[in-house]
Subunit: 346 residues, 2 copies
């Protein structure tokens, strides 16, 4: 019994140590995290805080000294978050890495949205207590030869009227280049595939396709970028296996992206290339405001922190009427891929 | 009878003359317009084509020689339009004036949207033939002291399963300044009020409030601009009276806006003022992509011309994380008005 206690105390010390590395204190008091350290909620909160810190430090190093500003905020209705933003750095135009741990009651709009996704929710007096936590990030670099990355890993719990709990994981990592660099895209997908393959050979192909389908700008007939992985509503095989999988994905963010940043951050570019990047940023805005599920959930959740939700928007964007790139140009090349996504790793 | 015929022929010659002044040929063949010249649809099509031409010519004069490019397009599913765009002029960053005359079947999404607005529609086999026509325009000037204007006047007809026709008018004109100029806003609202008062003293107060309510960016808790008038689903007192009213509104566009352009187009401005304009353009994009009914209808209508729908987006926009203007600044002054709209004319 003494050995057991010792190990438990060691586990608790480890929580303190991990929290030291975070950008700010976690949302849930550390004492509570320690007491419930076996709950998926506590472990996920530590994972998303850790991921935020790892990504922010890696981006700061890549930007040679730029620093993230850190806002720790609370939500009147329950929970809060930590928003880290680096704006107008040397390498990054706008980089946001946001953690939120939010609880309360689902809005009617969110309940409808979940039902339309096939969830069967037993509502009592129209109320559904929920807890949602996640890390989400969009990194917009200055150089048009460095792609934009987005990632998001989240865990959701809903307590139904009869006391049963529904839970699921969602997430993904995807890349949005302004110009196609085959080698970069293969590296990106390969790194994600390796993270997936550790858990199931079925994951990468399934979540790669889901990503292509999800990041579709329907009114343009094109994808937002060259994809990656995306999944939602995952609740099998088991909570533990999925947590491990999500952890592998979160750990893959830095190795799938930072090498591409380092390779291209000093590439020369023309004003025309910068302008094409700005037009593509406009499409990014279109996807996020018209289709993105996370943005819609955020805008529909009362008391949500708008600045943290819309942190994903680029610093600047551009819309030209009827812009069509010349045939066989590098701009036409990437558009073709966005209209007709391909397999990058076999 | 000969006198009657003469008058009818004169009416037909008049159609030819009016069409001469348009930016392009109307969507409906001129012969058909002549044959059905007493139908509201024909008269409305001539009015929107005429409004487009009046506004484009006035803007070209204000821009000292810049020219609109004119795209006349057809829609495979029925109808078409004329899109006029002036991009990167001396005075205007992006000015779009679009006419569309579209017919076909309503999409399921549009039917649901109309039902949610309280329309009782008798559907047969899930199909509802409709005809929608309108002129819509957004003018984004370069100088931050010249406000953005938007206007839209439209006529809608739906044929129900039992052959009865529902019809209504919608529209409005509203102003979005980057900085508050009291005199300009009063001139703008006064001109619209005069157009309304010719038809009913109830119109201006009702449609002014509707405008403040409609152009609300809910997630920001602020309006898009300083308002104007807005109305939708109008089907009383009578088709004729409403057509006359809409005509007065359309004729008021040039006198309510062009004097403000002429007054400020050569005003000096600082880079900081330009940057504040770009941030406000970001909010404009948020409203149009997240809330605007016309944009949503367009994006949901199969075969619609995306470039004409998204012509309303500015050439450039900007999103800074957590931007808050200093207290008592001119930026804070306009924000206060956007959060708490006031009466401009009594």
């Amino acid at each position: 019994r003494r050995a057991e206690m010792a190990s438990s105390v060691a586990g608790k010390d480890e929580v303190d140590e991990r929290c030291q590395t975070f950008m700010a204190a976690p949302i849930t008091p550390i004492q509570n995290l320690k007491e419930n350290i076996r709950d998926t909620g506590s472990r996920m909160e530590l994972l998303i805080m850790e991921t935020q810190a790892e990504v922010c430090r890696a981006l700061e190093r890549a930007d040679q000294g730029a620093k993230f500003t850190v806002d720790r905020w609370e939500r009147a209705e329950g929970g809060g978050g930590v928003s880290c933003v680096l704006q107008d750095g040397k390498v990054f135009e706008k980089a946001g890495v946001n953690v939120s741990v939010v609880h309360g009651y689902l809005s009617e709009e969110s309940i409808q949205q979940m039902k339309s996704r096939g969830k069967n929710l037993k509502v009592k007096d129209g109320k559904l207590p929920f807890c949602a936590m996640g890390v989400s990030s969009v990194i917009h670099p200055k150089n048009p030869h460095v792609p934009t990355i987005h990632f998001n890993y989240r865990y959701f719990e809903i307590e139904e009227a009869d006391g049963t709990k529904q839970w699921w994981f969602g997430g993904g990592t995807d890349l949005t280049p302004t110009y196609l660099n085959q080698e970069d895209v293969v590296h990106f997908h390969q790194t994600l595939k390796e993270a997936c393959d550790k858990h199931s050979p079925a994951f990468y192909p399934k979540f790669k396709k889901w990503c292509d389908d999800y990041f579709f700008i329907k009114h343009r007939g094109e994808r937002r970028g060259v994809g990656g992985i995306f999944f939602d509503d995952l609740d099998s095989p088991s909570k533990e296996e999925l947590f491990q999988f999500v952890q592998s994905c979160a750990k893959a963010v830095v190795p799938c992206y930072i090498p591409i940043v380092m390779k291209h951050k000093n590439d020369a570019f023309t004003p025309e290339e910068k302008q094409w990047q700005q037009l593509r940023r406009g499409r990014y805005v279109e996807f996020n405001l018209v289709y993105d599920r996370g943005t819609k959930f955020g805008l529909a959740t009362p008391g949500s922190r708008i600045e943290s939700i819309l942190m994903s928007l680029p610093l600047t964007a551009r819309w030209e009427y009827n812009h069509v790139p010349p045939p066989k140009s590098r701009e036409a090349e990437i558009l073709k891929i966005l209209k007709d996504p391909k397999d990058w790793v076999h």
